[in-house]
Each structure stands twice: as structure tokens, then as C-alpha cells.
Amino acid sequence: MVQALNDALRDEMKRDQRIVLLGEDIGTVGGVFRVTKGLHEEFGENRVMDTPLSEGGIIGCAIGMALNGLVPVAEIQFSDFIFPAYDQIVNELAKFRYRSGGDFVTNMVVRTPVGGGIRGGHYHSQHPEAPFIHMAGLKVVCPSNPYDAKGMLKAAIRDPDPVVFLEPKRVYRAAKGDVPDGDYIVPLEKASIVRAGKSVTVVAYGAMLYEALDAATRAEEHGVDCEVIDLRTLWPLDLETIVASVKHTGRLVVVHEAPRTCGLAAEIVTLITEKAFYYLQAAPVRVTGFDTPFPYALEMEYLPLSHRILPAVLDTVRASP
């Protein structure tokens, strides 16, 4: 996935001179995950800028650049460190178009690695989509594989609205997949059905998609046929695809590694109860991280891995009205 993101940035920077990158350590070393590797060398220090250590400064300056007609792609080294910039993101970036009645817009992308399972402990493992979705005005996306990562980063850069681009670091190097050279777009706001099935709809995204797929394979042995949806864009989400699937399966399991309370799964379950209540044959179920800080030693117990998804799927299917 790292290479796919790097390709997307390089392609877009060649296509559009207005695109600039800024962040901590993204220059000569190419970022701590090497997503910007080689770009400093290729495009120079006026397009790829190593900044001082201040997330609020990075986002505040990037907003100013966007207001002045550039298209910044800012990197926050880990999403755990995005909170010094939270005010700039949710009160400024997300609000410029609205508060100025369309007089000023901020076309830019905030890229940041998310998620656990890499022995990073609390401060290198969080998956904070919900606080950004909740504060109106942002698009929030999270690709699960290299193909989507490239196509969605290009789409995010070209999108007229600010996009928070979450990169699941557990699959930065692991996720394999064919990535075509050259230009293609994976449109935002479109989920993808990665496994068709008829017994139960399982919604997941990012690194947890693979856990959902693993649980689906195991469920097969129990005669349960899962339909797995990769959400891809977390907000505004592709509700149509989920509703159509649930109308067809009558059952819903939502998986995410962020904590449970007020998480995105809560919103999806509510939406489905509102839109497809009479199609439901069992109560929708959430399989999520716990409402604890992200633990270091017990991270594999914290994450909603397939061993937790499978029983939820089977219980849902066994439940009858």
C-alpha cells in the first residue's frame, strides 16, 4: 500500500503543479513510513516540505496555502498526534466553505496512518475516525488495499472538499494487490462488496476488512454465507449499498477497531434500523475495539479480530425473530 500511495502522490504532483506536500520528516527520509519516499528528490523542497514539529502549525499553514490556491497534502505522522491540530481541522478546515457562504474553500487532504496491531501502544495505534465524522464538513476515507489506496488518494486530492485520509498502517506493507500504473480513480462515497453472500451482511473497513473476510471463510464451514462490504469512504457513507445488502440478507454485523461507544458502527446500526427495520431478522451487532485506551500488551485481545467476528456472525444467523 505504501508504494501505491507514493505512486498516487507522484502522479498527481506531475499532473498538477499546485499540489504541495508538508509534514514532519517527509522530505529526505520520505516519511517515517516512506510514503513520500523520493518525492523530495524529484520535486524539490518547494513542493515537498519538511516542517517544524507542530501539527497545529502544519494544518494551519496548509489551510492558508489552500486558501491561496495551492492543493496541500499534509501528513500527520501518526493519527494519535493529530489532536494538536484538531481545532484547525474541525473548526477551520471543515468550516471555511460554510462560514464564508462559499466565499473561501479549502481543497486539501490530511493523510495520517491509523490503527493497531503493530505493537505501538496507545500513542501509535488509535483509529480516530468518529471525532472527524461527527464535526460536520469533512469527508473521511479509509482504503483497505493498494488498488483503492492509489485510486482514492487521487480522488481525494481532486475532491473539492477537505478529506481526512486514514491509512491503515497494519496493512501498509502487508496488503498485496495489483496496482496498475498510470491514472485511475476510485470514486469516493462508494463502498465495495468484496464478497457476495446471502446469510448476513458484514460491514468493515481498513485493516479489519481482512478479519471480516477471514471470519466469512470460517463461517462457510458452518453453512453461513457472509456478504462482506468494504466501506472505503467512512463519511458520507454509501448507505444505499448497505441498505440493499441488508434487505437481501436480513442481518447486519459492523466491525471497527475504534472504541465502541459513539463509534461509526453505532451510526450505521441506527441508520439500518431506520431504513430497513422490517427487513431485519435479528438485532444488528457491533464488533469493535473496547472503550478502554488502546492497550499495548493485549492489543490482539483489544482488536475485533476474526475470532470475535465469527461468533457474532454465527449468533446473528442463529437468532430468529
Partner: protein
């Protein structure tokens, strides 16, 4: 101590504080201009600035009255700070940009924000350029190179740095000026804004209106730094301190700062020493926390009166001009208020516009809900 005094600067300081720590003053106590520092403002510009200062003061008084009458919800004025605000804006070029704080409507008008548009913003009506989405005094005016105003203190500071930095990257000559108060120099964004500007030599002018107060918090409780200008030194940002009640001095300092920026010499922090003669806003009563005697020395340095005296001494202004201007201001104001009050509220549907460029499904649904169920009675008490 009302205002901080300049402490001795140490030898070897890399960044010079102007006039070795003293205030830059051009319009002297005796009403004459210091010939060594005179910025030679053109007569027409000087008169334009003076009229704008008078109008700004007029509006502060009248808008406060409108607020007291319950006709507008709020106003945040700039009584006593007119020279700092108008003098700085006057020193910029048309191509330059301003990231405002919330107290500088006089500068916006000077730069060509339509008068009616300002009054419409106070009413949040259908003609407001911000579409009635923000409280009064949070206008936007791209045509005047005036960026949309935000309430959270300090956020505009590093945005201005980024904007200026982008101008530099694009090879453009525009300079960006950002307004903020003494209180804002304690915010995170002040520090990152100055730091980034220092590192990247962004063509930005940081204009701190040091008016002595952040609502009820006096300068001494805001910072232990002897001056705001000292904070520039820490970031390698050239810093100057001016008499903020002296139109000529503010103009001079900002013009020089903008020239430096345009010539590629990077940012300047201008500390304009002034005083907030009124409350923080119409919601504030300063009697609760400051002694009225504190205002007396500042009344002697009234920024509008100082310019008026200068103009009269030089036969550029007469009592008859005052009377004519008053009548003109009154007429324009009454017409604009009438127009604003006769303009309806924004349509309910517009609440959902501009969250994103295109309306997503969830907002379309929420808009449908509002359309279906008009409020049967006026809620909200």
C-alpha cells in the same frame, strides 16, 4: 502598570527591536511630525484614512445602540484602536491579503468591503455574504482580499503564515497581514505561526493590537514577556514596537514591514501599543474589572483627535468638514440599516448548503425533514 515597559535589551540580540526598544512615534505630542520618520502619506490617502477613522468610531457608537435596542445581537468594536487598524490597512497594496481578527471592520471598509454588506452581516440576513451563518462581525469579502473571520482566538495566525508562504512558493509579490490581540499571543497558533514564518521566511506581517486587555485579563496576567515584540525575537522574526495610537507610526511600521516582506526578507511582528477604551464587546461591562481612571492617560492620546488636530493645523480639515461628514455618515447608516431590516432571513434550505460542495444524502434527508415539518410555533423561548 498599565502598559509594559521596554526592558533593556541584551547585547548580541539577533533581531533588532526598533529604536533600541523605544516606541516608534511619528506624530509627536506637540502635533508635529518627526521629520526623520515621516512616511509621507499622500494627502488624499490621509484624508481617506481619517474619514474612515471617524466613520469607524461613528459606527461603533451607533451599532452599540442598535444592540442595546435589540435590533442586532452583538457588536465588537474598536474604540481607541482606530489608528492601529486603519493605519495598518492603509499601508498595504491592493494585491495584499488580510487575515482579520474580529475588531477590524474599519480596515475592511477601507479596503472596499461594501458598506451594505457589513450591515447585512450584522443582521445575518439573506444578503449577508456569510449567508447568516455566523454571529455579527464575522463577515467575509474575497474581493477586498479579506478572509472569512473565525471566533476561536489565534487560528488565523498560522493560516496567514501558510497563505504568505504559498505566495512565496508561487513567486507572487503579495504580502499577507494578520491581525490579532495581545491575548492571542498566548495561543498555540501564534507560536507555530511565528515559528513557521521565521523558518520559511514567509512574507507575512503579524500585527498585534496590544490593547492591554483580553476581555478582563490585563497584559501583566497574560504574559511575563516584557513586550510582545520580545516574542518575535525568540522565533527570529524581526519585531518592531509602535505607538498604536499614531496613524503615521503604524502606517510607517507596516509599510516598512510589507516592503521587507515583498523584498524577500521575511516576516515582521509589529506590536501596536494601544488601549481598548470600550468593553470587550457589547456583552461585556469593563466596570466590573477595571478602574475608569485607567482610561485618562489614553484619552489624551486619542488616535482620532490626534489626526484631526494635525489636519486642522495644516488646513486640510475644518469644522464645516466635520459637520458635512457627520451628515453623510448619518444618512448612509440609516439607509443601510433600513435596507438590512427589510431584507428577510436566509431561506431555511440554505442551512444545508456549503457544508460540502455537493449536498450528500444525509443532508438532503435532513433538509427534507425541515421542509416537511415547519415549526408550528416559534420555539426557543
Amino acid at each position: 502598570m498599565l502598559m509594559p515597559e521596554m526592558s533593556e535589551e541584551t547585547e548580541g540580540e539577533r533581531v533588532a527591536i526598533s529604536a533600541r526598544g523605544s516606541l516608534l512615534q511619528v506624530l509627536r505630542e506637540d502635533g508635529t511630525l518627526d521629520p526623520d520618520k515621516n512616511p509621507d502619506i499622500e494627502d488624499l490617502d490621509l484624508l481617506r484614512a481619517f474619514r474612515q477613522m471617524v466613520e469607524t468610531r461613528f459606527l461603533d457608537e451607533r451599532l452599540t445602540r442598535l444592540q442595546r435596542q435589540g435590533r442586532i445581537g452583538f457588536h465588537v468594536g474598536c474604540l481607541g484602536e482606530e489608528a492601529a487598524i486603519i493605519g495598518s490597512a492603509l499601508a498595504l497594496q491592493t494585491e495584499d491579503w488580510i487575515f482579520p481578527c474580529y475588531r477590524e471592520f474599519g480596515a475592511a471598509l477601507l479596503r472596499g468591503m461594501p458598506y451594505q454588506s457589513f450591515i447585512d452581516n450584522l443582521y445575518g440576513n439573506a444578503n449577508d455574504t456569510a449567508k447568516g451563518r455566523q454571529m455579527p462581525d464575522h463577515y467575509t469579502c474575497r474581493d477586498a482580499h479579506w478572509v472569512s473571520i473565525s471566533s476561536p482566538v489565534g487560528t488565523q495566525i498560522n493560516q496567514a503564515t501558510g497563505f504568505a508562504w504559498a505566495s512565496k512558493l508561487k513567486g507572487e509579490t503579495a504580502v499577507t497581514l494578520v491581525y490579532f490581540g495581545d491575548g492571542a499571543t498566548s495561543s498555540n497558533d501564534f507560536h507555530s505561526g511565528l515559528n513557521f514564518a521565521g523558518v520559511f521566511k514567509a512574507p507575512v506581517v503579524f500585527l498585534c493590537r496590544n490593547n492591554g486587555w483580553a476581555i478582563s485579563v490585563p497584559y501583566e496576567s497574560q504574559t511575563a514577556s516584557p513586550t510582545i515584540a520580545h516574542k518575535g525575537q525568540a522565533y527570529g522574526v524581526h519585531a518592531v514596537r509602535v505607538d498604536g495610537n499614531d496613524l503615521f507610526a503604524v502606517y510607517r511600521a507596516v509599510r516598512d514591514a510589507a516592503d521587507r516582506a515583498r523584498a524577500g526578507h521575511g516576516p515582521t511582528l509589529v506590536e501596536a501599543l494601544t488601549y481598548r477604551m470600550g468593553g470587550h464587546s457589547t456583552s461585556d461591562d469593563p466596570g466590573a474589572y477595571r478602574d475608569a481612571h485607567e482610561l485618562e492617560p489614553w484619552q489624551q492620546r486619542d488616535p482620532v483627535e490626534r489626526v484631526r488636530h494635525y489636519l486642522m493645523d495644516h488646513d486640510m480639515w475644518t469644522a464645516a468638514d466635520d459637520a458635512a461628514l457627520d451628515a453623510e455618515l448619518e444618512k448612509r447608516f440609516l439607509a443601510a440599516v433600513e435596507a438590512a431590516e427589510n431584507t428577510p432571513q436566509p431561506e431555511v434550505d440554505t442551512m444545508f448548503d456549503d457544508v460540502y460542495e455537493k449536498l450528500p444524502w444525509h443532508l438532503r434527508e435532513q433538509r427534507e425533514q425541515v421542509r416537511r415539518g415547519r415549526r408550528p410555533f416559534k420555539g426557543g423561548g
